[in-house]
Symmetry: none
Subunit: 227 residues, 4 copies
DNA sequence: CATGAATGAGACTTCATTCAT
DNA sequence: TATGAATGAAGTCTCATTCAT
């Protein structure tokens, strides 16, 4: 829920969330096996998104995938495991969306903030269902919780560094520390988007939401500029 | 998680969450019955906070309350119901904490914002365990979700009204709509506090957190003033 | 299988096998509960003896007892647990059968040997089914194995002490150590009886078996006397 | 467990347990097929001895053999079948060890008893793991049980004949029947050895064990002679 | 009202066996 | 022959809920 990237980009680092496999019987070898595994993952996503994590039974996933009950266990150990893999895939995509390498060093801070918020809104639009699930599972599953927390912490840290750089250049306020500010702004963007897009809080259009977030963000940091 | 009250107060209205009784099997009449019901509610809070909602069994609550397993059903229909009642009680307290009737019409907007944030931090400190539970249950229980959403919406609406008033007085920016702004600021305060206090994100002291939230809040709205 | 008592008696010590309860939810309190528990124990014995330990399903025991499936788990944690309790009960009875306190100090060693063998044969006659089961389960369940081994070791030790006493009195051979001799003689009696009574090896009558065991036993130890 | 051979030898008869092949799906014809079959048998022995019969899965055997899961069924019908074949192989070896054709007709009975016990101890030392498995499986598998019983009966019968011969020659007691005596003595030797070698009952050295068994045996039969 | 035993639907998981490639 | 994915019967265990006392 709280992946939010703004400002100067980060480059090489990859999100640590994408564990490759750790399935029960190593990786499936045959092409057929890969296909079945994929069928199960796709089915799981459909069922999770439709019924929620807790209401989903292994049997539902197997049925949706069109395989026998036991086949599930050929590829995954548990509901949590398949969920974790699914989330990691989504996180990978989210991350790739946000990384726009070689990105504009010629943008103003305000423009960078706007670009970040715009990307974030887009990503959440795309993956809203899985992100909502992540939020659900994180409240009671420690592993998923750690994954979600790590993502938030990484996002906040990235923003903190941007703020710090702006402070050094004299274009962001220096009366407050960069750490708490980054935390507060990540919360503003991610939680607002969460309620806005996923819970149907109300119906602003995208541009209104992006503009509001960006302007509040910029004013809060006392960035110089246009509006 | 997103109860947040700032600005001019509202007065009479009660939080719509606090259904006074709504017990399933008639309200208990005898004094003894009341005591047993109370024992169960207290036990439920202890067990929920200790084990989480999902891990809690009716049997655990009964045991903690020192009553027979079946007695639970004399007073409550389900785990969700006792949880809802418990949450309503807490919400009632939260609400009462925030309502400081006859409160300062002589405060500046910035001071009102600070007072609101300070109260919010205090309330979250007090009720963190239940608020975290609320967050957990809201992700999969529709009834609890509605309760949580209602609280957020009410908070946001209250803030929106304050902002609107400030806009009319010319002391808050008018280039953005009050509705989205209120939503974003509620998110900032409530979600930041959530991570800060409940998930141990980092360890700012109270005053740093309150000051950061208040200054960002005021700057975002372009309130006039001191700092 | 290897409970075998001969010679001078032991007095106070109790077999350590009879753990009183260790059921899941402590002991059942009501009389009804006791009755149901008893029904389950009796049913388990019937089914175990009829089908063997491995072939027995919890459902079979419940059905035989005439209770619902889940009721089993009110009283026992697992098939192994109910079996262990059953075995302990039998062992308790076996032990009580063998302890004949205040027993004949006026008997000759040979007569004591005979009396021990006769008691042993009688006990095995009575409990043959459970003893066979014990033998079965001991081969793969560590806890039951330990129980069975303990019983054998205690029996052998009791006999060893008798032999040692006889050696000191000069009425048993002294060219061999009492320990190995006791082990060999326990094996002779218990294993012979096992095959004879339980596996239908052949069909000696009781008196032939007892006389053969007793005479071989006495001659092996070079006890003085009659025959 | 109760294979025990003493005294005059029997000559031609083969242990009836050693069915040469009896594979399910035709005997493998190709050399490659023979090798795969052998790999599976060796793997099975390793896994059975390591994990016990019940804990062993077909998949474990295949993995240990380095062949695909399904390949197992090319050669064997079931876990029990491969086990039976394995046991038959061991029994064949045990039998061959004990048959020392043309063996000493110039030995005294006591020496023959000693030689038998010594051979028995040696064989059990060598095959203890498989013999223990045999004991395990015999308690619940009828086919294996029959195999084990047959071995015991054959051993006892061989000894009975020796005793009978000695009785006729006037060098063994005649007040007891040869049948029960043979059974008791087989039990003494085999069961003592079982506990001694396999269950770590105590730690006599080989010579003490052999001497104890032999002396008790000889005295029990009232054989004439040295000690 | 209180008790706590009894219920049974429902979910999870294992693994021997089959079979298309 | 060899492969290993797919199958599904069978068993285990949990726990919310009911109900006779």
């Amino acid at each position: 829920m709280n992946v939010h990237v703004t400002g100067e980009q980060v480059g090489e680092e990859r999100l640590s969330t994408a564990q490759p496999s750790s399935s029960p019987n190593q990786a499936p070898i045959s092409a057929k096996g890969h296909r079945t595994r994929r069928k199960l993952l796709d089915a799981a996503q459909i069922v999770f998104e439709r019924d929620g994590f807790l209401n989903t039974k292994i049997a539902d996933i197997s049925r949706e995938a069109g395989v026998a009950h036991g086949t599930f266990y050929t590829y995954f150990d548990s509901k949590t495991e398949i969920f974790r893999i699914l989330v990691a895939e989504v996180m990978e995509m989210v991350y790739n969306t946000q990384i726009t390498p070689g990105d504009g060093s010629d943008l103003t801070p305000r423009q960078k903030v706007e670009r970040g918020n715009r990307q974030w809104v887009k990503v959440v639009h795309q993956h809203r269902a899985m992100l909502r699930l992540l939020e659900e599972v994180a409240t009671f599953d420690d592993e998923i919780f750690a994954m979600r927390l790590r993502v938030r912490v990484e996002s906040a840290e990235r923003i903190r560094k941007s703020i710090e750089r702006w402070q050094q250049k004299g274009i962001a306020r220096t009366d407050l520390e960069s750490g708490p500010m980054a935390g507060a702004l990540v919360s503003m963007v991610s939680n607002f988007t969460y309620f806005w897009l996923m819970l149907g809080e109300s119906d602003y259009d995208d541009e209104t939401a992006i503009r509001t977030l960006t302007e509040l963000y910029a004013s809060a940091l006392q960035l110089p500029g246009d509006p």
